[in-house]
């Protein structure tokens, strides 16, 4: 590409330029220069990676404290695995419905895009509802974050994930208003892609949560 431009420059170069002055050569090596959103996407990806580091620290804290029950309840006493499996399924469903919403947005079908985004939001809300029910159930049994180091670390890690899902849903609802208001403009497309990355990223974090916290907690307790 660059070599080709250079050749053309050399052929069309006026004679007087050859005498001494160098003709300017532009090295346009950035192949994504035409996408105004590409800088945003890379920046958002780097934000997600920094968010992953926050979760890594919370996972490390949980890993260190996961057996410190302070004579309180252990994971095997507290965790209801079928409920966790249901939550995992809900989050996975919401990931694929968001993917379908992106595909419909690419075909510029407003009604279907909003329908699939709405369905994603419903799955997200169901996930949050079950998680809050679980937290409420644990706290009402006296297993709140103050009970032991294990429970402090548990509520910090799972609560932070739940908080991310909450903000993801707020973002989703905002987009469901912005989309019909402005149509499929590039800005809205960029917003959809960013939220999509955020949403799928939360699903990746949840893989770590259900494996490391719930499954291994019950298995090794």
């Amino acid at each position: 590409m660059t070599a080709h431009t250079e050749n053309r420059l050399a052929e069309n170069r006026p004679a007087e330029l050859d005498a001494g002055a160098e003709a300017p050569v532009f090295y346009d090596t950035d192949e994504h220069g035409h996408h105004p959103e590409s800088g945003t996407m890379l920046g958002f990806w780097i934000y997600l990676m920094s968010d992953a580091l926050i979760f890594a620290v919370l996972f490390a804290t949980y890993g260190v404290l996961s057996r410190r029950y302070a004579a309180g309840p252990s994971p095997a006493d507290l965790f209801d695995l079928p409920l966790v499996a249901l939550n995992t399924a809900l989050l996975l469903f919401s990931s694929i419905t968001y993917g379908v919403a992106m595909l419909e947005a690419e075909k510029r079908r407003m009604g279907l895009t909003l329908f699939w985004l709405g369905l994603t939001g419903v799955f997200g809300l169901a996930f949050l509802g079950i998680e809050l029910y679980e937290f409420h159930h644990m706290i009402s049994e006296g297993a709140g974050p103050w009970r032991s180091a294990f429970l402090s670390a548990f509520f910090a890690l799972v609560g932070t994930h739940g908080l991310h899902v909450t903000f993801g849903i707020i973002w989703l609802v905002t987009l469901m208003f912005q989309l019909p208001m402005h149509g499929f403009i590039p800005e809205n497309h960029r917003r959809l892609m960013c939220l999509g990355m955020f949403w799928h990223f939360l699903d990746v974090i949840w893989i770590g949560v259900f494996t490391f916290v719930y499954l291994m907690g019950v298995l090794l307790a």
Partner: protein, 129 residues
Amino acid sequence: MSAQAESEHHDADEHTHSGSRHGTFKDYLIGFVLAAVLTAIPFWIVIYDVFRNPKVGAVVILIFAFVQIVVHMVYFLHMNSKSEGGWTVLALIFTAILVVITLAGSLWVMSHLDANMMPMSPEHMRNMP
């Protein structure tokens, strides 16, 4: 005329390019089926206590989790070494190294410190202020 044709070609090129970046329905479907299977097996292992030795079970479900994370990265987040000129993959590798150091380092160091701690019985713990 030729400039117009070129710009048209360029537009078409850009369109297919953005299309490939979002993935297709088939991608999402493959990812969904793989993720569902990779989720179901660890739950099955733990709920039905498939492995008699819990340590073996733990290692197996960790491997499943790792594979599922890769599946999500490829099929849902559309990671590949070419996007953004390789910068996304570079950031991901850097983060993965930091995550491994943080997790493995914390668990390793703290388990060694723990071995040196004075044992405390549940009775002691209940009488703590």
